[in-house]
Symmetry: C2
């Protein structure tokens, strides 16, 4: 039941709709928590029923109405409690790496294409994280930034995502070059 806490943590940044969360979750949260739109809509409803969030409906013309959710005091308290509880070990499920593991009995070309896809995706994501980072730092050094801001959490998680994508890029490049060298065998 920790999708709930991922949502609460995201809402610290400000109110958001299910749709907002569904596309990219939030820039940084997307790196360590995945969820389908259906999960989000359902969970937000349950959270509202339990008083962890409040909804306000915003009527828009030329667009469907949206329900913007924001944290309640109970929501903040629940999130704070969550930080004290022991965390479950990280769950990861990466089909691409299953393919790579099976590379030698499978179709090398398909796997190569898949790795190339990862490489491109990771470059896009890295560029995005770098833009977000530049916006946060706004010309200051990290030290200056840390002295001024009140929330370090989002910056730290962003840096983790950034490092992850950098490693994806390095790794994918290495993997492709290895595969190219052996394509003649």
């Amino acid at each position: 039941m920790a999708l709930r806490h991922a949502i609460l943590a995201t809402l610290l940044e400000g109110e958001a709709s299910g749709y907002d969360l569904s596309k990219g979750f939030d820039a940084s949260v997307a790196n360590f928590w995945m969820a389908t739109p259906q999960q989000l809509y359902k969970e937000l409803e349950a959270m509202q029923a339990q008083g962890l969030v409040t909804a306000r409906i915003v009527e828009q013309d030329r667009r469907p109405n949206k329900r913007l959710y924001s944290l309640t005091e109970a929501g903040r308290a629940e999130l704070s409690e969550f930080t004290k509880r022991p965390a479950k070990p990280t769950a990861i499920r990466d089909e691409l790496l299953v393919k790579v593991q099976a590379l030698d009995v499978g179709d090398a070309d398909s796997v190569r294409t898949a790795i190339a896809g990862l490489l491109e995706l990771s470059r896009t994501k890295l560029a995005r994280y770098d833009r977000i980072r530049a916006r946060l730092l706004a010309g200051r050094t990290e030290e200056e930034y840390f002295d001024v801001i009140d929330r370090v959490g989002p910056y730290l998680t962003l840096m983790r995502g950034r490092a992850f994508e950098k490693e994806n890029i390095r790794w994918a490049e290495q993997a492709l070059s290895v595969l190219e060298h052996r394509s003649g065998r």
Copy 2:
């Protein structure tokens, strides 16, 4: 239904019991696919029923009997087909990073302790991967190694896991030092 393929990919290394798989899955596979023992026992049974694996019971004295599973031709074929199908995007669920995101409204001390826990765990894992790597290379350079071996898959996934743990260590160290500098606020 890709737990199945993770298991098939692991069994390429040789026969294994549910118990073998459950503790650490296989050294490299553990990095990109998590599963509980219950999942494994259940899935192995289903896979046997569908002819993707065969079991042979090994009677041991002074220990419970075990069922060692190995790939069938159908299993290999299924795995090969899998490499051709498009992979689902990586699913990741990391409670620690949810905590870090919520750091500033939560209990900073608990979060710090959790990060320190990650740091230690990652150091242990990295050391393990380095040992496995050294055993595989057996004194040769990567180039020499690639020229000789027939399976690159496991080496590439191992390298991905290794890079991941290295990044965990860097990041955790940075995060702890940032938190220490602000502990007076």
